[in-house]
């Protein structure tokens, strides 16, 4: 079966589906083959980076059929709505200039080597002209990236790394053209192109990292239901898109559907999974009169909801707005490379101007003085400086990724380095974020009871049931065979086992999280659940303290639960904090001059994660949490947090070393250039050497995340 065919456009419909659950080659094969097995489907091609599958099919086939087919093989999917088209990639537009610069640099270097080997007279002139022929269009094309950025900075009265680059490149090109036309000895096309090649390589690495960061950025809006079934006055049901919902309408929400708008329950009784809104994994019950929010998941039974607010008025949209505003402070952060170039650019230009003036005073003539000044500019062009930051960061990100920490933003390591204060969310961050059955009460179950409990739990989607399934399966329990199993909303699961009635139900007295296993003729068994601390939390907090980072707990949970955890880990705590409170707490610390690290997972942490100087989220976090955080760590270990801080500090140490190396090279080369001793050969050799040294130094970070 050839699933991996490119589409033939005529007479087909094409649908792009977002499939967030794809992670590996196995998933890709399953999705592609599962879809290709449908008779109306011509081909399906997965894009794993974007977590999408493009399907070409008969025009008559409707997307719901495809979604259903994917659901059958275990992949929830959604159609991609037009406004959620993948964001344009930052690295892709750089690939073509990079390719052109590489092509031109190699060919011109080939010609230059012949000139350096002693080509004379007409041969040299021919080679210079050929170099110009390849070099000038390539420089114009590949250098556009820098020219555009430099111009936009200059127009706003600022300067960045691209300003000295652009000036150096254009002057060198102009001079080389002049030398070529007048039959001069030296042309600098090779050095200029090599410079562009190195700089574009650094730029592309940086952009590729940013692209990775933005993958899945549309998660937030996708979580809101795209529409709802609205109950008309005459009792008919009609599908209304989320943007057309109006307050006062009554929508019918089926079990398993996400709410499209905030509202109040009119009829029906069900439980709602608020995990997306608050990070809490325990569903809340709601009957007529209860307020429910957009983005929450209706678990048990269909309900009718009178809409109170829709679209931009919902709680979900409010949090998204808060996050947008909170992230602005961070976007004002100035990257270390740009800070360095603020000092660097004026210094370099002063040196070039000084050497021009000096040689003019010495009576060297306009032409020679200009050549020397331009040589200074070329030799100081921040080639190694442009690689100093991106190479170190890419190597460090690779090291962190192997340790299960995803770095989502290029500047995140820079911001994390200086952090001296940490705020930690409780549920899902310090704790595992999901209830775990008490090992003692599981051990007390006899084998038959364990089998019955597993069988009953497997009929329910309740979080406690799911936790029970996981724990029992891990113990090697296999499910008993049951008859007549029914689930009652908010009450539990009931069934028949060997002629006896068995049930897994809510305990009568509501103390903590627990479930009761009833087997007719035997006393009821209570299975307790608790949201346990991650096993290495105390150790990780001690490491953070050693790094000079003071931590405290900032949670939206109730005070009693927070106090309990705070007592175990011995930290200050603040409970019942709303998203706005968390934001305010971070602002207050920042105003005192602290650099704040926020670690959190829920939607309620979103604004705080966006506002903090650096932020981390566990891989189990809500999509919003993962999206807002700079770092996402996978797995159970909380020691990932101090490990990432250490890696960030080591990375920035190497970045500073790189700056010293790059500037040290200039200190050696600039006097030579000012003395008029630099030829294109020396410039090319010095430039490659300094770049190689910087790259080699960065590669020392391979083990930075150990």
């Amino acid at each position: 079966m050839s699933a991996a065919v490119r589409f033939e456009p005529p007479a087909t419909g094409e649908t792009v589906l977002v499939v967030p659950g794809m992670h590996c080659a196995g998933c890709m094969a399953k999705v592609e083959r599962g879809l290709a097995a449908l008779p109306a489907v011509h081909a399906a091609r997965v894009n794993l980076t974007a977590r999408q599958v493009a399907v070409s099919h008969d025009p008559a086939l409707a997307p719901p059929v495809l979604i259903e087919a994917l659901a059958r093989i275990g992949f929830p999917a959604q159609p991609r709505s037009p406004e959620l088209a993948p964001p344009p990639s930052a690295a892709r537009p750089l690939l073509a200039p990079l390719g052109v610069a590489a092509f031109a640099a190699m060919n011109v270097m080939l010609l230059s080597v012949s000139i350096w080997s002693g080509a004379e007279g007409p041969t040299r002139e021919l080679f210079h002209w050929l170099s110009a022929l390849i070099g000038v269009p390539a420089i114009l094309y590949a250098g556009r990236v820098f020219f555009v950025s430099a111009w936009s900075a200059l127009r706003r009265g600022r300067t960045n790394m691209d300003v000295p680059i652009s000036i150096g490149v254009s002057l060198a090109t102009g001079l080389s053209l002049y030398e070529t036309a007048t039959g001069g000895a030296d042309a600098w096309f090779d050095g200029t192109l090599m410079l562009l090649l190195f700089l574009l390589a650094g730029r592309t690495l940086d952009a590729a990292m940013r692209d990775r960061a933005r993958a899945g950025v549309d998660a937030l809006l996708r979580q809101a239901a795209p529409g709802a079934l609205v109950l008309g006055k005459d009792g008919t049901l009609a599908w209304v898109a989320a943007s057309d919902l109006l307050p006062g309408m009554i929508m019918r929400v089926a079990a398993g559907e996400r709410l499209a708008a905030d509202g109040e329950i009119v009829t029906g009784q069900s439980r709602f999974d608020n995990a997306l809104l608050t990070g809490e994994s325990i569903p809340v019950s709601g009957g007529p009169g209860a307020a429910v929010h957009a983005g929450t998941l209706n678990l048990d039974a269909p309900v009718d909801v009178r809409i109170a607010a829709a679209g931009q008025g919902t709680t979900l949209a409010e949090i998204a707005r808060l996050m947008g505003a909170a992230g602005q402070a961070r976007s004002r952060y100035v990257r270390i490379a740009d800070r360095a170039s603020r000092l660097y650019a004026p210094a370099v230009h002063t040196l070039a101007a000084l050497s021009f003036a000096w040689w003019m005073i010495q009576g060297a003539g306009l032409h020679q003085s200009l050549v020397i000044a331009i040589a200074v500019l070329i030799i100081t062009c921040p080639c190694a400086l442009g690689l100093a930051v991106p190479v170190a960061q890419v190597v460090a990100c690779g090291a962190l990724m192997r340790q299960g920490v995803m770095v989502k933003d290029g500047s995140a390591l820079e911001r994390l380095e200086s952090v001296d204060r940490a705020l930690l969310d409780k549920t899902g961050t310090l704790t595992g974020g999901r209830p775990v059955p008490d090992p003692a009460s599981l051990a007390a179950l006899d084998p038959a009871a364990a089998q019955v409990a597993l069988a009953l739990a497997s009929h329910s989607r309740h979080p406690l049931s799911r936790a029970l399934i996981e724990a029992l399966t891990q113990r090697g329990v296999s499910a008993a065979i049951l008859d007549d199993v029914v689930e009652e909303a908010g009450n539990g699961v009931r069934g028949q086992w060997q002629g006896r009635t068995v049930a897994l139900r809510r305990p009568e007295a509501g103390t903590g999280m627990a479930t009761v296993l009833d087997m007719a003729g035997e006393p009821a068994r209570l299975i307790g659940f608790a949201d346990r601390l991650r096993p290495d939390t105390p150790e990780a907090l001690a490491e953070l303290a050693e790094l000079g980072i003071a931590s405290s707990i900032l949670s939206g949970d109730n005070p009693a639960a927070v106090r309990e955890v705070a007592a175990i880990v011995r930290l200050d705590s603040r409970a019942a904090a709303s998203p706005v409170d968390k934001l305010a707490a971070i602002r207050a610390l920042q105003d005192q001059g602290h650099r704040v690290l926020m670690v959190g997972d829920g939607l309620n942490d979103g604004p705080a994660l966006a506002a903090a100087d650096a932020s981390m989220a566990p891989g189990t976090a809500s999509d919003v949490g993962r999206q807002a955080a700079d770092f996402v760590f996978l797995g159970e270990a909380f020691t990932a947090v101090p490990r990432t801080v250490r890696a960030a500090r080591r990375t920035m140490r190497v970045v500073r070393q790189n700056f010293v190396l790059a500037i040290g090279y200039n200190v050696l080369a600039v006097p030579l250039a000012m003395a008029g001793l630099v030829t294109p050969l020396i410039a090319a050799a010095a430039m490659s050497l300094s770049s190689l040294i910087v790259i080699a130094n960065s590669l020392r970070l391979t083990g930075a995340a150990k």
């Binding site: 894009n47 980076t49 073509a96 390719g99 080939l110």
Partner: protein
């Protein structure tokens, strides 16, 4: 000098060929899905035959 007349255009042509191939790949979507390309090599194209074990 006569060798150069042949060799230089030849070298340039070959370089240009590489560049054209690169642009073709870029247009053709070869750089669209880095993760997928890395994973795709692990997919077994053939469904395993039930009876005879393959070497």
């Amino acid at each position: 000098m006569t060798g150069l007349v042949l060799l230089i255009p030849l070298a340039l042509l070959m370089g240009l060929l590489g560049l054209v191939a690169f642009f073709w790949a870029l247009r053709n979507g070869q750089f669209d899905d880095f993760d997928g390309a890395a994973a795709r090599i692990l997919i077994d194209e053939d469904q395993p035959a039930p009876a005879e074990p393959r070497s």
